[in-house]
Amino acid sequence: MPRIQVVPLLEIVRETPTTMTYRFRADLGGQPGQFLMVWIPRYDELPMALSYLGAVKGITVRDYGDATHALAAFTAGDRIGVRGPYGNAFRLEGQSVLAVGGGSGMASMIAAIEAFSQQGARVVTAAGAKNAEELLFVERANAAGEVHIATDDGSRGFHGFVPALADKLFARESFQQVITCGPEKMMYAVVGLARKRGVPIQASLERYMKCGIGICDACSLDDKLVCVDGSIFTGEQLAGSEDFGHFRRDKSGRRIPA
């Protein structure tokens, strides 16, 4: 059984004004798109995507609440608990791939972008963010292929939302595979675009989680569990979903607008 490992942080890197990467060694595997349950002692335990898969693992997290804010004050040598890896991985199929990332969603995709590139696929990344400063992992994506930028305020690249940028790229060339991660409304739009063009798409979803191992039912999406049936779902799976793009569950299990 996977068990919790307590590990010291080796390095902490500020990626954007709101997003940090935490590096550590842990005796666990990990494939592109998988996540860990990360225990921030005295605060919370949260699902976080693996943004580095090598010997020195990495998680990249936006500071959005009490626990991630507490984590942002950690320094090298401070310890966290990790268990996993959990969830499925991106299927690395196709010779030409469009990766569409919004904000910190790039953290879940960057390992897949690199893995696609390493196996010889052409990877085009459409990376979006609120503004130029919030763009995440653009250099890493650039080293793996071609990068196009969209910012909400127009401070860099295309002035607008990343699905509109993705639509331009779809019009320009044909892709064999699309992967996406970001705010759910954004992914909903991207899934729609890919399905309209008949291109296979995989979307990495996020839901509130407690167990991470498929028993507590906190992260349910229709009759599926994001922690074990996902977190990556195909366009076919999402096409019939009542929840995707519309509803999520709060901590009590109430179904509320996404």
Binding site: M1, P2, R3, I4, V6, M37, W39, P41, R42, Y43, D44, E45, L46, R79, G81, R83, K210, C211, I213, G214, I215, C216, D217, A218, S220, D222, D223, K224, L225, R249, D250, K251, S252, G253, R254, R255
Partner: protein
């Protein structure tokens, strides 16, 4: 062929494997899926009068011989929960509604509401070992078990199954009290109060410090509890605690249980566990010369 059908206080089950409360039962989608995977019935997450978020994480710890949890009774409240029961019913599920509250009146109010959703029975969670200030601690007081059961019985038409705590000196006394209160069946056992500590951090592993232990570690405690209860009461018993195989289920049946509940074993065996355990039971019963589940109930008492 062995007939796997069983029955508890008039509730007919296609097989004796039920989904235990607290696992994959916050949403109707998941309950429907568990039923379609082979469970004889599903028990809902324990539902209270108001939405409740539960405890902060970490809420679960995987241990060598089981699972420690302090999820803290998260639930959307009984009003919202109607949608989930409807959805489970739409998938064909036989649903038993688990309820809790802060006092007997609140239990009764939630149970009365739940019973209007078409659930086949009400399970009373009298025994959650990690929720403070709720009626779930009343399993420590036999007269309260009797009174709570009676208060609920007075307001619902479906069978009522109090779920008892193993964290007591003599569980059979509590089962007897429940029977005196009008219980139509007894569910035993809830989790054992327990703790895990993470030495590297010098602190308890759960945010709530204390939790409830489930899984193989508590199976023999559950079997003993069911055996003791069946010596004292006449109502049917549902056995729960560490059932992970057909053989484990048969231990409970032979101790006197009419059905078993399964939860933690979903972790090791997946949702196929219900079908697999049914098949394993059928084959073991056949080998032992039984033709049906009821023939085997309680035979270890002879």
């Amino acid at each position: 062929m062995v007939d796997l059908r069983t029955e508890i206080a008039g509730v007919a089950l296609r097989n004796p494997t039920m989904l235990a409360s607290g696992f994959l039962d916050e949403t109707g989608g998941s309950m429907g899926r568990v039923y379609q995977a082979g469970a004889g019935a599903v028990v809902t997450k324990s539902v209270g009068p108001q939405p409740r978020e539960g405890y902060p994480n970490p809420t679960i710890v995987e241990l060598d011989a089981g699972l420690l949890n302090a999820v803290g009774l998260p639930n959307p409240g009984v009003i919202e929960y109607e949608h989930e029961v409807k959805r489970a019913h739409a998938a064909g599920a036989v649903v038993i509604g688990s309820v809790f509250g802060k006092d007997a009146e609140e239990y009764a109010a939630v149970a009365a509401k739940m019973s209007t959703y078409g659930v086949k029975a009400i399970e009373l969670n009298l025994s959650c070992p990690h929720a403070k200030g709720l009626g779930t601690e009343i399993a420590q007081d036999a007269s309260a078990v009797r009174d709570f059961t009676r208060t609920v019985k007075d307001v619902v038409d479906v069978p009522v199954f109090p779920k008892l705590s193993p964290n007591v000196q003599d569980i059979a006394t509590f089962a007897l009290a429940a029977e005196e209160g009008g219980a139509d069946g007894i569910v035993a056992i809830n989790t054992m109060k327990a703790m895990a500590i993470t030495p590297e951090l010098k602190m308890p592993s759960l945010a709530n410090k204390y939790g409830g232990l489930s899984g193989p570690a508590i199976r023999s405690i559950g079997v003993r509890a069911v055996y003791d209860i069946c010596e004292k009461v006449h109502v049917p018993v549902i056995g729960v605690g560490g059932v992970g195989s057909g053989r484990d289920a048969l231990e409970y049946i032979m101790a006197g249980a009419s059905a078993v509940q399964i939860g933690t074993a979903i972790l090791s065996r997946g949702l196929g566990v219900f079908n697999e355990i049914s098949k394993e039971m059928a084959s073991l019963l056949e080998e032992a010369g039984f033709h049906s589940v009821p023939e085997a109930i309680g035979v270890a008492h002879a």
